[in-house]
Amino acid sequence: MNQEKIYEFVVGIFVELFELDVKNIRPDATIFDELGLDSLDMVDLVIEMQSKFGFKIGRMDDEEKLRAIRTIKDLCLLIEEKIKSGEVDISKIKI
């Protein structure tokens, strides 16, 4: 699964889950300031990612990584990292 596909997937989540206009979503768009999400949305975002990718976001290391996410691109990089580390079985991804 390449970066482009991951980005498409993330954009799809933001449009569907948070009712955002696809025109406003760019790789460098800041999730909180520009796209208007808040901490509750982040919880739902994590749940959605877990559901779609089948990986578990733990409480320790991942939480710090999640806190560091500012932009759509940051989020895509985290997903890419999870795939590369083998935590995700690509054949089971529900996209």
Binding site: F18, E19, G36, D38, L40, D41, V43, D44, I47, Q50, S51, G54, K56
Partner: protein, 415 residues
């Protein structure tokens, strides 16, 4: 200590007749019933029960108009509550700067949090797969104060916030709490009301408790039948009602239109039965409200009864009215025959309807009351054709599971 006079300066309604008070009042004054057979729609979820009638909303508010930030925290009943409260603020023409001030509060109610949202959570909860996790905002839909909190958040209200969850007495108690807040000068304006969504769980529980009507499944508009000899139980309904209560000083200062004055309120509990209130406890409640208002029984011109058409409930209420108003011909009617029992919303919706009866001088009769039950004490029921009568004071009764009673007394406002 100075006590404020408490006025009603606006209201909003979502009822089985549709969205808006105009639709509700038109339906009530024309004597229509909203009760339908729900077997096809919800039959599979009614747990082998006998009751297949209900009064659901005939149209639902367009939730997409609510910004997602607020909507994501709302189950259906909070959406209805929001719509009724927002409409009430517009009806009362409350200035925007007042809405966000610390002087405006909320007392809003529901029987439960959203049962629909609770059902969704349990569907996920009972799924063993590791990906089965409910939405982050689920709790804000199912918490018991979902209506009061959501109304305040979505409307930007910063004043006091109370949630009342006493099932069928909820919104009458919410209005009572608002009245007390204003009377004692703690707030200037209160949004008070209640909301209820239609869920098969609620219908099933009423059925299980033998409180729901079941003999009229094939003739739904003939039930419920308050005070009637052939009544067999109540019919669950959905809706939301909101009233704007305001101190006289605030209302007069801004030249608000005034629909009535709340002059009395009382609430108590009967510890002898969880399922229903006794006549004695209702008598105490009625007398408590009359004392609070400083009026005599003979000054009451109309009683809007709770009368849900349960066999036992109507007996207690009729007996209490007969005792407190002995020798007086006070017209009585119930609106449950039209809209079913909208539970937590009923007190607010029926108070709104009673305000219009007071304004117009036309009393709405009890739909489906054909032959008053001879087992009940004789009451002066509003005749089937209606009654033209000048109303200076009316009473609104509400009683709830748990043995809770609540009585409001409203007066035509004069300076």
């Amino acid at each position: 200590m100075k006590q404020n006079r408490v006025l009603i300066t606006g209201y909003g309604a979502v009822s089985p007749f549709g969205i808006g008070t105009d639709k509700m009042l038109a339906g009530l004054f024309s004597g229509r019933s909203c009760v339908v057979n729900i077997k096809e729609e919800l039959g599979g979820k009614l747990a082998n029960g006998n009751c297949f009638v209900a009064a659901p909303l005939s149209e639902t508010p367009d939730a997409s108009q609510i910004p997602r930030k607020y909507r994501r925290n709302m189950g259906p009943l909070a959406e209805y509550a929001y719509r009724a409260a927002a409409d009430a603020l517009v009806h009362a023409a409350v200035p925007k700067e007042k809405i966000g001030s610390a002087e405006l509060g909320v007392a809003f109610s529901s029987s439960l949090g959203s049962a629909a949202a609770l059902e969704e959570v349990f569907k996920v909860y009972l799924d063993d797969s590791p990906q089965a996790i409910p939405q982050a905002t689920s709790f804000f839909k199912i918490m018991s104060h979902t209506c009061s909190a959501n109304v305040a958040h979505a409307l930007g209200i910063r004043g006091v916030n109370y949630s009342v969850n006493s099932t069928c007495a909820s919104s009458t108690q919410a209005i009572g709490i608002g009245y007390e807040q204003l009377k004692h000068g703690r707030q200037e304006i209160m949004i008070c009301g209640g909301s209820e969504e239609m869920h098969p769980m609620v219908v099933s529980i009423f059925d299980l408790l033998q409180a729901a009507s079941w003999k009229y499944n094939d003739h739904p508009t003939q039930t419920p039948r308050p005070f009637d000899s052939k009544r067999d139980g109540t019919v669950c309904g959905a809706g939301a009602g909101a009233l704007i209560l305001e101190t006289e000083e605030s209302a007069c200062q801004r030249g608000a239109k005034i629909f009535g004055e709340i002059v009395g309120y009382y609430s108590n509990l009967d510890p002898t039965s969880m399922a229903q209130s006794s006549k004695e406890s209702i008598v105490l409640c009625l007398r408590g409200a009359l004392d609070d208002a400083g009026v005599e029984p003979k000054q009451i011109d109309y009683i809007n009864a709770h009368a849900t058409a349960t066999v036992a409930g109507d007996i207690s209420e009729a007996a209490a009215i007969a005792e407190v108003f002995a020798g007086l011909q006070v017209p009585v009617s119930s609106l449950k025959g039209h809209m079913g029992h909208t539970l937590a919303a009923s007190g607010a919706l029926e108070t709104i309807a009673s305000l219009e009866m007071m304004r117009s001088g036309r009393l709405i009769p009890t739909l489906n009351l054909e032959i008053p039950d001879p087992e009940l004490p004789a009451l002066f029921h509003v005749p089937a054709a209606g009654l033209v009568k000048k109303v200076n004071h009316f009473i609104k009764n509400s009683f709830a599971f748990g043995g809770i009673n609540a009585v409001l007394i409203v007066k035509e406002y004069t300076k």
